[in-house]
Symmetry: C2
Subunit: 393 residues, 2 copies
Amino acid sequence: MTTQQAPGSRQRFFRSRWVAPPAGVEELDPDRLAPGFRAAGTACGLKGGGETDVGLVVCDSDDLRSALLLTANAAAAAPVRVCREECDPGAIRAAVVNSGNANAATGERGYADALAMRDAAADALGIPPRSVAVAETGVIGVPLRIDDVVRGVAATSRRLSERGGGELARAIMTTDRGPKACTARAGGVTVSAQAKGAGMIEPGFATMLCFVQTDAEVPEPETALRGAVAGSFERITVDGQLSTNDTVLLQATGAAGAPLPAGLLEAVLLQLALAVVADGEGATRVGRAHVRGAATSEEAERVARAIANSPLVKTALYGRDANWGRIAQAAGMALAGERLAELGADAIDADELAGALQEAELAIVLGRGDAGAYVYFSDLTPEYIRINAEYTT
Amino acid sequence: MTTQQAPGSRQRFFRSRWVAPPAGVEELDPDRLAPGFRAAGTACGLKGGGETDVGLVVCDSDDLRSALLLTANAAAAAPVRVCREECDPGAIRAAVVNSGNANAATGERGYADALAMRDAAADALGIPPRSVAVAETGVIGVPLRIDDVVRGVAATSRRLSERGGGELARAIMTTDRGPKACTARAGGVTVSAQAKGAGMIEPGFATMLCFVQTDAEVPEPETALRGAVAGSFERITVDGQLSTNDTVLLQATGAAGAPLPAGLLEAVLLQLALAVVADGEGATRVGRAHVRGAATSEEAERVARAIANSPLVKTALYGRDANWGRIAQAAGMALAGERLAELGADAIDADELAGALQEAELAIVLGRGDAGAYVYFSDLTPEYIRINAEYTT
């Protein structure tokens, strides 16, 4: 299932053995956006050190379809509430985003700031305000320096480029160790996507930001996006924390006159999701909890998630310790109140926990039925503690 | 609410500002058991280094009542299944316990070993097998060296003493930094208790081992024990992990001819529970998540637990960072799907996160109703990672 990469290639995607891209997929320079889109990123000073922290992505045409998925966190950030209340989710021409400040738990002022940021982007781009989505990421509970952001939006709008994918990906980074972007072509269509996410990662659906552009015909973008997210961002966890700001946007022009090849969107999103996990705060390895023999899909997912979020399993992944008993314990915890047939070593494959592989699969067979599930997760390391004990308000 | 201790006193209990013992409570030497009970601990080699790893506690009379609470983990260990299937929970004369091996996920052999251990204790004490409870703690998935344990049980039975509380507490330690025992007297009755627990701590009810003896009259021991556990061991978390082996045993002779003073049992168990949290793997501080203004008690507890188990809050407790935004995020996650009124800084008191206090209270007011809840938790530190990455099968 692995697409081989030439050594030294800058193309980094579809490397995971867990990703199955459609046949004939070709990877392009991740700076390059799908035809009909432009993006850019600039620094407005929120992050300091000259790092870019304001981004824009815009579709040149208003003949497009879009879908917007937002966090389920009840304490949703101001930009999420603006997207819910002040945008046309099916007709999003552009997204404006900043990093360095999540604009969450910032009250009425935060809401007004998110609106002002959205309006500044609409104004700079000359498009209706309701066609602009707004996203923010960074610290919670700190007022946004909106004047700096508005200036940054104007500056960013002057840099928009068909090769701005990497700039956008860098502009949305927080504790990410590197930008996450992917451009792929198959079946005559192109998909480009940029994502961020390193901590506060647990799917309600997504727990990070991701912008996806394509020239494919996508008649039902929300259905397509929900399906692909269900197999990717909803299957990952770094620390079990559902963010206040998660946003995934899909924009599709249809200009290529061809549909999305089966599996392309999910492969792109799964590879980005795995990049988020691999870049999890302090992470050194990625695990996949693979549950089979569950009574229902829901039960399989609950068990997989319990394994993936267990700090005992996550530290065993870090310590390269094939401690299968901790997998049994986590599974039993997820099924608390039930009686489970004895989960001995033969029901659990934890060998890869102890191995040298960067990607370790942990498998468990519950013997209760035919349902299964995967959850991808990062290890828990001293560096996670260091980052989160020091990253401060 | 704090009982002052003389400096240098070896009496360590009722020091927390969160524990309210009944008036007139007197602390005794924790080695000393309630009248009518004897205990001991010896080394049989499971832990190595000559550390004690087999313990016994026995009531001299068969005129007693008892209650036994066991883990809800579906992958319950062999000793838990033996207690469920082969004991009279209301008439437990003695408990036999080992540390160094949990005898969990050990299949039919593990069950036979737990039965053999139980029978060895009954034989050595000359009491019916069904009146002996068995408990084990340590690594999961490793066969028990039952011959060593049986020899250890016989040796331990020859050391039983009215002053064996400390020995028992030491014999059940795993990664605990010290023994946890308490003996207190009030209203003419004595309660002694010994507990262990440092990792894999999250209440299903208890998530550790605890043995409690009293000469009070306790006509409904299960009701009394469930009530006290609900306010103590069910309110703590170290790492959100429900153990396979949790066991709490209450034995009451009634010989004092007086009932338990209100609050005594819960105060003893809460102080032991706090000792478990303070001794959490790698822990340096204890936090209390205090939720008010929830719509229901269940909701309050769910939010408190989400805060207490958030690795972001736990690292902030370690890093002494008053990062109230993470409390808002965790609360919002626990209420995912609902819409919450903006949780600004005025709804959250996180000052003690950043302070010098060993016990830090984090308060949040949800504005949804009148229900409240507490959950006690430890911080998440590099030492937790070190312990769990190295503690191996």
